[in-house]
Symmetry: C2
Subunit: 404 residues, 2 copies
Amino acid sequence: MQCVACGARYPPHPRLVRCPRCGGLLDVKVEPARPPSWRLWEQRRPGVWRYRELLPAVSGVKPVSIGEGATPLVELENIGRMLGFRRLYAKNEGQNPTGSFKDRGMTVAVTLAKAAGARALVVASTGNTAASVSAYGARAGLRRIVVVPRGKTALGKLAQSVLYGADIVEIEGSFDDALRAVMEAVGRDARLYPLNSFNPWRLEGQKTLAYEVVEALGGEPPDWVVVPVGNAGNISAIWKGFRELHRHGLIDRLPRMAGVQAEGAAPLARAWRKGLNEPLFVDKPETRATAIRIGHPVNWPKAMRAVRESNGVFTMVSDREILRAQAMLARLEGVAVEPASAASLAGLIKLVEEGVISSDETVVIVLTGHGLKDPQAMLEAGARRYVAAGVEDAVKLVTSLAGG
Amino acid sequence: MQCVACGARYPPHPRLVRCPRCGGLLDVKVEPARPPSWRLWEQRRPGVWRYRELLPAVSGVKPVSIGEGATPLVELENIGRMLGFRRLYAKNEGQNPTGSFKDRGMTVAVTLAKAAGARALVVASTGNTAASVSAYGARAGLRRIVVVPRGKTALGKLAQSVLYGADIVEIEGSFDDALRAVMEAVGRDARLYPLNSFNPWRLEGQKTLAYEVVEALGGEPPDWVVVPVGNAGNISAIWKGFRELHRHGLIDRLPRMAGVQAEGAAPLARAWRKGLNEPLFVDKPETRATAIRIGHPVNWPKAMRAVRESNGVFTMVSDREILRAQAMLARLEGVAVEPASAASLAGLIKLVEEGVISSDETVVIVLTGHGLKDPQAMLEAGARRYVAAGVEDAVKLVTSLAGG
């Protein structure tokens, strides 16, 4: 492992989640015990662990798995036609066990935590991460503790964690206080294992999205991968996945990465536009796309590197554009996502308009979470409702709609 | 096609959804154009259409597909150990595109509807069926119309249909009135295509669950398949799937089918207990497991046949047993389901206690819908909540929980 900030190197260990010297992010480098190959992988059942040559070595425990990964790559024929694309695809991560891409990372990180003897998982999160930690902790037989600021989270957002049997600790204070409590507790008690976004082992699982995309496209990478950016871990992980395939000779070229942020929470996109090398952090991020409502993205150094190395781009879109894209995906393609996921389609549309992405390129947009994650947003899409006074009236209404 | 009630035979046609002579249920018989084989199927991408030799022939249109099927068969190690099983599995249908098993059937039925020239899909439903019809209709570019009794459905239950852009017709009357309006409208206007539970083409897609189970178990069927029973289509479809594998020499024995109903909506289980050949219909079904709250199951003749032919059983469980099973699945295995799905685990526990199912048998329980389908039920599972006055207090709390 190597620190992204100070360059210090360490032998890999599951408990190393930040640089002990400077507190910086750590990069994981996996040296495969045997050469990875498509032929080898194809013989195994689909999912994250099919690619185990490129995952961290786990000894002594079985992978903590609930059927994550192997999500469909859906061809967006209708939207593609509208935008002039012949090869436009969506990787629908909402079909993971807890309804988001987080499960890919959690299967790896929780397996390592268990192998390292952890007794309890702990995370400061109110959203998809909390749900995923709670599920994988349950599966692993580990205690799972979710720390949230008190009074700032509707319990409904934590409904999944509740069902998965997490302990919910509500702290009088801010989200930063919750995160500080997590790190402090982990420092004092080795039975605890932290799963916040800085955990580099989660990215090792998330990178398998790249492998699946290439496999589904018959061994070829796309020209562009468009990813919603919140804490910026996913775009970093996916890029790492493609780079590793390239390094091991499994693809012969690399895609370009496009990171999409919401205008009210766009520290990376705003910095990118100005040619800066560091984010323009946002203290009070605001967007309807709650899963990417993050003003201080933890993984920004990795994400900046991913976009720069890949000759990619950051962009930002308005909430209106996001919600419009959400409705387009549902109504033209039958794919329901939470608003944050739709940022990738909104971003693609913008990048096509700006001439950055051309419609003769092959594009994959990443849909990060299921529509069911945010029932309120589904309703806000607006219903066409009609009232019928009785059966005969309903029959007339229905037949007139059939012709509409 | 053949009528289950009067035995009349018809050449297969997508528009035949009930017997024109007597109104009875129709059975579909697929004659494969070439012999089905595991080797053939394994070469195709996973999902419902991999098995197309045993699906209705479709000509002229591409399958209307959103990445349905290929759901994980999750080994329930922790619950299995508790019950003494060595081979206990759950087929998690919640990981389908709209979050339930309905998608398997809809991809087939909507493809046929499109091929037959339908302009609009119509269904009377407030739940998982409406969501699935709305998604596949959107994907197919067809209008989708959901008819519901007015004032009896919270719009929240229809949130998915709203996002998928369905027309929602609210009729002053009962659910039966809604269904009557659908059938009447379909009879008058050939542009409309009905997708309620009597539609036999949906079952052709749903039967692929059996194929996937056998594939995941290395070519062997389980000893038992335990299925929640509402309108009774799924248990009928799954049994049909196993029978077809057997007929074509792809398995050499058949599983036994166990159908599980909620006590307050148990027309089949109550009839079974008394040795009757017809259901004891329930006019006011009541259960927390809304997806199986059905007193007059449409597909009862097929379901009775499935259980009888397979030397299986119907049983029923209380809402308390269902909710306990739901929490067990989430907290011991990391699998979150809606209450109706948990009926299968509750039923299994009961059948083990009664000595009907033995723990040295291989059992697959079918989990029909995702936990996110019913957020309220997730919250009702009960949270362990703690309040911390500040960071230091939270640290103490978290470390004490780690040791608990």
